[in-house]
Each structure stands twice: as structure tokens, then as C-alpha cells.
């Protein structure tokens, strides 16, 4: 019963779409900002990537391509998330980047701790995230929250306040329920099975009274 209530709250949040819109704008805007700051000085970003020692210096193409593409991927995914265009894919892209970056930052912090003997909570360096020198434990916490938000958006099926909904409506008229904007409709009447069932139940309940 309680679980059902909780699920109902999450579902209402999802259906309402406003909370997701706020999360989308904040997360997407943050990634656009970080991407732009890297695009301004790609060489500096390249130097910072090198410090992680995740990729070989030779052949250089992998590291160089990362410095060229990653900032733009952040800008594109962030913009897409804000606009609600390819929202699921944008959230998945951001979640993937965070899943790669966050352990890399953690491992580098551990390496610095081992080599310099600095306390973990005192470690600060420019992680190449676009925000300069940062206290690392705070950055890791921030990334964990961002990852959580990205996963939430990735799993959400709501496309309210999304360009996706407009485009889907034009293209197929059958992807998302026109009643709740959340469920996937089956193409019969543009609504999802849940909404159709609810409508039938409501109609059934109304009949005896009538």
C-alpha cells in the first residue's frame, strides 16, 4: 500500500513534468556552461586530459579527439536536454560521461593522496571539468548528484515541456499518450492503456448513477 503510494507520488511528479523541466534545465544548462568553458581553450583541456593518464600519448589521436569532441558533446547534450529534444538520449549521454569522468577524478585524487600524502578532503586540483581548481570531494559529491539527476531523466518517460513531444506528435501521433504525456500509447486512440482503463472505469462507475 505504502509502496504504491510512493510510486504514485513519483508518477505524479513525472506526469506533472514541472520538476523534470527544472532538473532538465539545470542539468542541461550546467553541461552547456562547462562545455563552452572547455571549447574556449581546448589546448588547456587537452593538457588536463593527459594528466589522468587514461589514454595513451601515442598514438595521440585518441586524446586529441577527446579534447576536440567532448566539450561539444557536452554542449549538444546539454542543449538537447534543455530543449527536450532527444531528451532520453541526452540524459543517457550525460549519464555516460559522468560515469566515465567521476571514477577518473576519484582515481586521480587517490593517486595524489598516495604520492603527496595529502588528506583526501584537502585534495584540490583542476579536474578539467571547466570550473578550474576545485576541492575534489565536493566535486565528486556534485557529480554523484548530477548522475542521479541524469538517471532520473533517462528513466522518465514523461515528455511534457519537451520538443520531443511536438515532433513525435507530428511524426507518428502515437508515441506518447496525449492524455497524460507519460505512457506510450498503442496508436488506437492516442492514449495509453492506463488512461484508457481509467476512462473505462470512470465510465463504468458513472453508469449506475446515471
Amino acid at each position: 500500500m505504502r509502496l504504491a503510494e510512493e510510486r504514485s507520488v513519483i508518477r505524479k511528479l513525472d506526469q506533472n513534468g514541472l520538476a523534470l523541466l527544472v532538473v532538465r534545465v539545470l542539468l542541461g544548462g550546467y553541461f552547456v556552461y562547462m562545455g563552452v568553458s572547455k571549447v574556449r581553450d581546448p589546448v588547456e583541456f587537452l593538457k588536463l586530459i593527459r594528466l589522468y593518464e587514461m589514454m595513451p600519448e601515442s598514438p595521440a589521436v585518441f586524446m586529441n579527439a577527446s579534447a576536440i569532441v567532448v566539450p561539444w558533446l557536452e554542449i549538444i547534450a546539454g542543449s538537447a536536454l534543455v530543449l527536450g529534444l532527444f531528451a532520453g538520449g541526452a540524459a543517457a549521454t550525460i549519464a555516460t560521461m559522468l560515469t566515465v569522468f567521476t571514477p577518473a577524478i576519484f582515481l586521480r585524487a587517490l593517486a595524489i593522496r598516495a604520492s603527496e600524502g595529502t588528506g583526501f578532503f584537502d585534495i584540490a586540483f583542476d579536474c578539467g571539468c571547466g570550473s578550474g581548481v576545485v576541492i575534489i570531494w565536493k566535486k565528486l559529491l556534485e557529480n554523484a548528484l548530477l548522475l542521479l539527476a541524469a538517471i532520473l531523466l533517462m528513466l522518465s518517460r514523461s515528455r511534457r515541456f519537451c520538443l520531443d513531444r511536438v515532433l513525435d506528435g507530428r511524426r507518428t501521433r502515437s508515441t506518447y499518450c496525449r492524455a497524460c504525456g507519460y505512457g506510450l500509447c498503442d496508436g488506437v486512440d492516442g492514449v495509453c492503456a492506463t488512461c484508457r482503463d481509467s476512462a473505462q472505469v470512470a465510465a463504468g462507475a458513472a453508469e449506475p448513477a446515471g
Binding site: 571549447v39 581553450d41 581546448p42 589546448v43 587537452l46 593527459r50 600519448e57 601515442s58 598514438p59 595521440a60 589521436v61 586529441n64 579527439a65 579534447a67 576536440i68 569532441v69 567532448v70 566539450p71 561539444w72 558533446l73 554542449i75 549538444i76 547534450a77 538537447a80 532527444f86 532520453g88 538520449g89 541526452a90 543517457a92 549521454t93 555516460t96 604520492s115 533517462m154 518517460r157 506510450l184
Partner: protein
């Protein structure tokens, strides 16, 4: 289309868009272009001479006596790694002496600043020319004009863990500057200013 398939295809579209925009912008931007296949972090000379030189400027002639012993903080792991570059080094006192040497006024010694433009404008070793090791196309010709005929070419950057001077040395060596003429000033700008040596500033005019 199932939700997961849709997500995967969206990720693929965004990835391709990132690739196209990233490489296009990289090609079109005026400065800061990254050459995809170039290894910017190659260390060491391309054509070392048969006999290795000492690290402390043994070929600096009269400046040899002015060599300073390494300070405690210079003997760090970073510093020892910094020395694995294969180029000769020049110390602070040697450089200060070289700056006032008549041969410098005669253009036989060249100083190359491998830092960013704004840092160079804020102050640099008097007479130093700036060249960015990551964007040599824009400056290498100017440097080579004087460096190819010079007895000594001293390259420096920020100091500390900065490695840009090493990469600049390699670029100059690759462009034809003799290995024997190239010297690294690993103390860099931080040591130079800390010691109260003269600086030259680009005015805002």
C-alpha cells in the same frame, strides 16, 4: 519503437553531432586548433649530439661558476621527471648573467617564452619572444629567424610543473634549431620574478 532502442539511437545521433561539430569547429577556429594526429607531448630531442651534456649548463662558459645548487623544493619527483627531457638546462644565475652578456645584445642569444599570450603581455624576460608550443604555426617563423643563427636559445615557461618549455624545445629542434644551442630554463617565470630579476611588460597602448 521500444524505449531503449529509441534512447540508443538518440545517443548515436548526439554522438555523431558532437563529432561533426567538434571537428568542424576545430578546423574553422582561428587559434587554439588541435591537430588530431599530432603528439603535443613528445619529449626529448629529435637529434641529440653524440655526447650528453651535464644538466647544469656545463657549456655555458664563464657562467659556469654562477651555477646555483638546487634548492630543497626543487628536488621533487616532478623535478626529476622534468629532467627526463634530454635537453641542456640553464640555471637562474647563468641566465641572469647571459642576459647582460654583450653577445645577447649582439643577437647571439635568444630567449623564448612558451607561456600564453596574456601572461607574456603581463611580463616576460627582457627581449624574449613568445611562441606557443601548441600553436607553433603562428610564431615559429619569427623565432626561427633569430634562433637559427643564435649560439644559445633559452626556452622557459611558468616554472614548477610546467612542461611547455620542453615541448617548445622539441618543436624548435624539429624545425632545425641545433640541439646544442637549445637550453631549458626549468626554474621558469616563477623563479625569475621571485629572484627580483628585470622584466619587460607589453604596454596596453
Amino acid at each position: 519503437m521500444p524505449a531503449w532502442k529509441r534512447t540508443v539511437s538518440e545517443v548515436a545521433i548526439l554522438g555523431v553531432a558532437g563529432l561533426v561539430l567538434g571537428f568542424s569547429f576545430n578546423e574553422l577556429r582561428g587559434s587554439g586548433t588541435i591537430k588530431p594526429f599530432k603528439n603535443y607531448f613528445d619529449k626529448g630531442p629529435i637529434s641529440p649530439p653524440p655526447a650528453p651534456r651535464s644538466e647544469s649548463g656545463a657549456s655555458m662558459g664563464t657562467a659556469r661558476e654562477a651555477i646555483q645548487p638546487p634548492t630543497a623544493d626543487s628536488v621533487t619527483a616532478e623535478a626529476s621527471e622534468h629532467r627526463q627531457h634530454g635537453f641542456g638546462e640553464i640555471k637562474l644565475a647563468d641566465l641572469a648573467e647571459l642576459l647582460n652578456d654583450p653577445s645577447t645584445r649582439a643577437g647571439l642569444n635568444v630567449f623564448v617564452d612558451a607561456r600564453k599570450q596574456d601572461l607574456y603581455d603581463e611580463g616576460h624576460i627582457p627581449g624574449a619572444v613568445r611562441c606557443d608550443p601548441y600553436d607553433t604555426d603562428a610564431c615559429i617563423d619569427d623565432v626561427l629567424n633569430s634562433a637559427l643563427a643564435a649560439d644559445k636559445v633559452v626556452v622557459y615557461c611558468g616554472g614548477g610543473e610546467c612542461e611547455d618549455s620542453i615541448f617548445m624545445c622539441r618543436e624548435l629542434n624539429a624545425a632545425g634549431v641545433d640541439y646544442g644551442a637549445l637550453y631549458l630554463y626549468t626554474g621558469g617565470w616563477s623563479e625569475w620574478t621571485r629572484a627580483g630579476n628585470p622584466v619587460e611588460v607589453i604596454s596596453g597602448e
